[in-house]
Symmetry: C2
Subunit: 570 residues, 2 copies
């Protein structure tokens, strides 16, 4: 492609609307433009990268035996009412009425539609295993869309669904997708981690997130050299080592006037915050429960929710706290509390703890959970922290930040039971189909790749998803320079390399800047000076390395580099 | 692909919901399934054909210098208010509010969004010509969706838009798209016609429809060996030959009791219906006008509307007819009528006509338009009919039926003026950008191809868009037969041929029926009997021709046939 004909409207200034670097660079590189809040147009350059991502995902899904189909974006309310999500999905589900006053929604996900398809098309265990996927434009009416295409309202997802007759087959389908996803992110040229994620009621290891590592990532993740990795907020915490100690002191009520926070109480009583236990009152599906963690730790609400098996979990209001504890907010403690108490396992490693006394300006000291709160449930309830050992091997994990770009999940029979998707087994028995679902945020991957790969000059794309693999920059647009550049451009194109030749009548500096900005991995400068030596200048965008290459060898050598780096013509 | 792994749920029975053959066959072949009225899921087999259509369109658009982008489906009301279409589009435009109570719509077309993009990105005449296109899911809330994906509510269009600084450049852009479209439909392997279409206020030859010819087509079209072709309802009618005759009789008022229709009046007065003139009263933008055609002809309302330059045209109610003519409905005539009269050119070839007398049960005879209705406007106002000469060369055109699958149209400055999309010309003057728009109904093409290509046994796809080019049918699924079939399957796949091997453990008859049903152009049967002679049976789906081909040559010969026929691996 010649730059003059490519419609790549680059910008010199960083638009004020963009907060994160990928959003800034995608606007500046002429990859996207905003139409409305969380709604973007993909310009030709951005679309090229999007299509390359899509192709790699498609090839690996096909290779894993999944079959592509295309489901509608506009969906009838009836199906969502059957699954129960019409009521429970919340306002991210955009609902509307058609001209005949029938209720519809704009799909944020496709479990209902695929389950409806399958209940009509799958009859026997012989029809499975089956794995179907699509690339589809989704809409989620986010309350606060932000970061460009990283968290937009309209976006493209690859969503796939597996259908199996039994747990063993379903586990194999899950495993095949785990492998396919790993192959996909490897081929995309991204540095990524696979982490255990919350799998809710299903449990076990049937939920993994695929995270592109980037310092700017929204999620913190922990990973260990033993292979264990998990989303920071969901990571299992290893139980404390050694035997739990006996009680070491009597329980004593002490006045703690003016001390509200853990730090204030600890300072007042001259103990460390680790010796203080926080007691938080929640409403779990409307019923009050208490949860305890050490004063210097953070409660992991997802763990608490899963432990209780609750659908909704929220902090209780002051009135409820007063009612169940008899004391004001900030002084709740487990002793004498008549609601279920869930205590983090680590608290049992303490001989004596400071807890709230369930009355204002007072705490109890010398509390030993085993002795004084015998009815409490001991569990892993806190968020992992630097210093915690790996829950699998005991070594110290490393912590990093990441952007979630894929999520695989075992659905079990949630939708097949709600919607009557059954099959006949070998004995002629009707059974619910076991489902899995597998998502990749295709548009998001483009932004994540840029969060991972950029410098002060612009984007650094991996070869596999760069909009063009090679930029040819003639320093003049006529004479021998342009002739040599054109020949190189033609030779590279003929060799199946995606090449962008900057034929614009502009100063070289502008061309250099644009090539760096839009992230082309390999740049060839053709200039009169080099040609005197029969050479062109080859620069690697990532390493910054510069080579002089004989003109006659340039096309062959570049084509080889592109092929080796996983670059393919769109 | 092995059939057992392909998810192609064929049906033996024709579903009752399907009225037209393409809809019936797409359901039976397992290409689509209905989700809601006018909303369909594309199953893997259908999606393969859709993607092949899409690829051919993309390649020809790129070759013509157009650049692909991707605009959003959800669009803010503000842009549609700027263009004026928020108010005027009617109920096909699906409108809704987002969670912040802002008005949005689901795009039926993208003129507003592309004009908004261009007014920000195009500044100078140097930025043009520019041609941008996309493949996009559109939604039109049709009052009565029907015929499967032929007239659905959610569908995929290729819509493109050109931007030019002047008329000459815009005409060249239009011409390039005309050529690209012709190349597209040729490569798709479809029998098609390009017809002049209504271009409304722009006039001239700046609107063409591309029609796939099929007996079941909704549109009638006329075409001539000289190259002229037009949509039946919009085709120009040649003026009558020879001089207009003088008046031959006096005007006489005659009673015509009980004669209401043209036929009744003609019979009563013993003249032919061609000697009677119908006078119809319309409201053009609310103002009454009269339009006249011969009694045996049909008025073309589009021609009348364009002639007047009216936005809305509808037949006047009885009260208006009574008021303007003084007589009841059915007896209106042009003599003495005090509203504008538009008369079809053909009426001026009559010496004497019978017309309504503007009073009940009475007509005038001996009317000569030139003498008796001097204020009338003479124009081409009727629909072309068999027997009419070609308006370009005078020979007799042929008539056929077709399905509209493409439409190219010069928009002029309609949107650029309404939305302020201007550029600076070489003199620094600000001018509105001249636009064109170019649509192809991608999903509709699949149905149109089937309307054109089918027989009693199923679909007959052209090689270029068949989901698979070759079907390999082993008559046994083990032993030498299956080994030979598998080798053939592997060799064809390696040669880049899309091949479907029916490895299902089913009777041969079922496999034959399915292969015919889903429209695979070439079928190879591998059976024990043929293998004794070292041959396999090759059958052409279209011609029905059967050849015995030596096993050793089969793959090479098939690959050659596929290549020659424009078949390519997806």
């Amino acid at each position: 492609m010649r730059f003059s004909q490519a419609f790549i409207p680059t910008l010199k200034e960083t638009p004020a609307e963009a907060e994160v670097v990928s959003h800034q660079l995608m606007l500046r590189a002429g990859m996207i433009r905003k139409l409305a809040s969380g709604v973007y147009t993909w310009l030709p350059l951005g679309l090229r990268t999007l299509r390359k991502v899509e192709r790699i995902v498609r090839e690996e899904m096909d290779a894993a035996g999944a079959r592509e189909l295309l489901m509608p974006g506009v969906q009838p309310a009836e199906l969502w009412q059957e699954s129960g999500r019409w009521e429970h999905y919340g306002r991210e589900l955009l609902r509307f009425k058609d001209r005949h006053d029938h209720d519809f929604c704009l799909a944020p996900t496709h479990e209902e539609v695929i389950t409806d398809l399958i209940r009509h098309e799958v009859r026997s265990y012989r029809d499975m295993p089956l794995n179907l996927y699509q690339f589809q434009t989704k809409f989620r009416d986010e309350v606060r869309p932000r970061f460009g295409v990283m968290r937009s309202r309209e976006f493209i997802m690859k969503d796939g669904y597996s259908f199996d007759p039994d747990d063993e087959s379903s586990a194999a389908s899950y495993q095949a997708m785990h492998q396919a996803y790993s192959a996909i992110f490897k081929r995309l040229g991204l540095n990524f981690a696979v982490v255990e994620a919350d799998s809710g009621a299903i449990g076990g290891s049937f939920s993994h997130e695929f995270m592109v590592l980037a310092d700017t990532g929204e999620d913190a993740i922990a990973s260990c050299s033993c292979g264990w990795a998990a989303n920071f907020e969901k990571a299992q915490v290893a139980p404390p080592r050694g035997e739990a100690p006996q009680a070491a002191a009597e329980v004593v009520r002490v006045d703690t006037p003016g001390a509200h926070t853990v730090e204030e109480v600890a300072a007042f009583l001259k103990v460390s915050p680790a010796q203080v236990a926080k007691t938080l009152v929640y409403l779990a599906d409307g019923k009050p429960v208490a949860a305890m963690v050490r004063g210097d730790r953070q409660l992991n609400e997802i763990k608490l929710k899963n432990l209780i098996g609750a659908t909704a979990l929220e902090l209780a209001p002051a009135s409820v706290i007063q009612e169940v504890s008899g004391g004001p907010v900030g002084f709740t403690g487990p002793v004498g509390l008549n609601i279920p108490v869930y205590a983090d396992q680590e608290l049992y490693a303490a001989e004596a703890l400071v807890v709230g006394a369930n009355q204002g300006d007072a705490h109890l000291t010398g509390v030993h959970l085993g002795r004084d709160v015998a009815g409490a449930t001991k569990a892993d309830l806190r968020i992992i922290e630097p210093g915690d050992p790996c829950p699998r091997c005991g070594k110290e994990p490393t912590f990093a930040r990441g952007i979630e770009v894929g999520h695989i999940f075992r659905l079990g029979t949630k939708y097949s039971q709600a919607m009557g998707a059954e099959y006949l087994d070998a004995e002629g028995q009707s059974r619910p189909i076991i489902m899995g679902c597998y998502g990749i945020g295709v548009t998001r991957i483009v932004a994540a790749a840029i969060e991972q790969g950029h410098d002060d000059w612009g984007i650094i794309f991996p070869l596999a998803i760069a909009p063009y693999s090679v930029a040819v920059l003639p320093l003049a647009i006529d004479g021998e320079v342009m002739e040599t550049a054109t020949k190189l451009y033609d030779d590279l194109s003929a060799a199946g390399v995606d090449v962008l030749m900057d034929d614009r009548d502009l100063r070289p500096g502008v061309k250099f800047k644009d090539a760096d900005l839009i992230g082309i991995p390999l740049r060839v400068v053709v200039g009169a000076k080099g040609l005197k030596e029969g050479a062109v200048e080859l620069k690697h965008r990532l390493s910054g390395d510069v080579d002089m290459v004989p003109v006659a060898e340039a096309a062959t050598r570049l084509a080889q580099m592109v092929r080796r780096g996983g670059g393919r013509s769109l």
